[in-house]
Symmetry: C2
Subunit: 246 residues, 2 copies
DNA sequence: CGTCCATAATTGGTCCGACCATTGGCCCAA
DNA sequence: TTGGGCCAATGGTCGGACCAATTATGGACG
């Protein structure tokens, strides 16, 4: 078979659902609708778009499944996330990960991405971004000393600032999903009440390597943080003798 | 804020849709249905489950949006991925730019993940996995020589085999999304008709490092592939003088 | 005047029956 | 064997109806 350079997209004859979502995204953009805002009722949409309510509902159902929208019976349909006409929806489906392996898997992804993001951040961050990262670091350190332990929120704010300074929005979104995945099954620190403690000093060294515009140094420090969390996780797992089942 | 150990699942007022999906997942499990298999007609499901076809359709629409299922009018509804009652779906919405920067962003993600996956693969792959990777490599090399150039499909098959051998299903899913994001705006090789050509030899060296159980060597070879594609992309962009807009 | 509660209107959730568009198999003829 | 045309099956859309939860309304009562 000879090469077929053209992907030959299958022709979409019926794209009514997609058309509804496109129109809705355009509407949200023109109206400046953001998360929390309420969008028109299904009946209004059906009337305005000249389609049946069934079609509107099918379209909204898809957005609901993607977590973009929340429907409240008797109240209305509300935006949960910013929507746009050209967005890529990446549904990650994985076997119910309440076991140690799944937690480790999220850390493996983070190991790859956090190192890369830190390196890129050291290359691209401007003075303003570096100042912001420093600020987040200080907030985190303050919270650490006050509460005698790592604080998830402040810790995430710090990492988030680094991702944003990397100039690549994909880092933040993917790692945010890993964070959520991780915390969904990490309600208790597995009996290790100083969980994450060991990773604390590396946050400052990571900041220093970024401020020094040292990509490889920053990457190394970021990897230390992940390795430290991994070690804590293994420690807690060994203590609780987690075997894999929920 | 103090720790709130209980996730507090939002109250599910209406669980009819979910009940349908649960029943369908159970059915798929009992029948041993896998990807590619066709599942019962909407009308049959509605009759069997004692719900209306509308409800069945809403449920299937959610699965369709999650990419678990594919509907073909006039033919039926087919499984695209293994489904299970307790499976975690983490929808991820990414801004999909159509400019050069976005293409580069996907490569930055791949740089982090492919290196990590290659290293893990070298650590964990068993003889069977390594044999499969070798086979995919040979298929790719054969296609390369026959068509005088890289072939996307065979190339992806090779990388996919590596991801699967890494033991972490997240790698394949995330990078698959990056692939899609990349190819969505890369119909033509930007005028570089030997696009990807330079990355060809590194595929074999990558395989050799994996077969030798050399994690860091495998990581290095994987990074060479990404760097090569990046260089090609910059080359094509420079030629076409792409400035960012589509 | 303000508060409280029953009532009505609004809105999403489900159901039904019908029809359309596409697909795929079947049969028959060239 | 091949080709075309017919036809049943299947997903897609439609309109209308009713149910359930929520919210707004407005009057009664302290």
């Amino acid at each position: 078979m000879s090469a077929t350079p053209v992907p030959l997209h299958p022709i979409r004859t019926a794209a009514r659902d997609d058309a509804v979502l496109d129109a809705l995204a355009a509407f949200a953009a023109s109206e400046g609708l953001g998360p929390g805002d309420r969008l028109p009722t299904e009946r209004v949409l059906a009337d305005r778009l000249k389609v049946s309510r069934t079609t509107v509902r099918e379209a909204l159902t898809r957005w609901e499944g993607l977590g973009l929208v929340e429907r409240r019976q008797g109240s209305g349909t509300y935006l949960k996330a910013p929507v746009s006409r050209d967005m890529l929806h990446l549904p990650l489906t994985l076997p119910s990960g309440s076991d140690l392996d799944s937690l480790m898997h999220t850390l493996e992804i983070r190991r790859g991405l956090e190192g890369e993001a830190a390196a890129l951040c050291a290359l691209r961050a401007g003075p303003r971004e570096i100042a912001l990262i420093r600020h987040k670091l200080e907030v985190m350190e303050k919270a650490f000393h006050e509460r005698q332990g790592m604080s998830s929120d402040e810790d995430w704010d710090f990492h988030q600032a680094i991702f944003r300074a990397s100039g690549n929005p994909l880092f933040e979104q993917i790692v945010a999903a890993m964070y959520e995945l991780f915390h969904r099954f990490w309600e208790h620190p597995l009996g290790v009440h100083d969980f994450g403690h060991a990773s604390f000093p590396f946050h400052r060294t990571l900041y220093e390597r970024i401020a020094a515009r040292d990509p490889e140094g920053a990457r190394a420090e970021a990897l230390k943080i992940i390795a430290s969390v991994e070690a804590d996780l293994r420690r807690g797992a060994a203590r609780l003798d987690i075997t894999g089942s929920r």
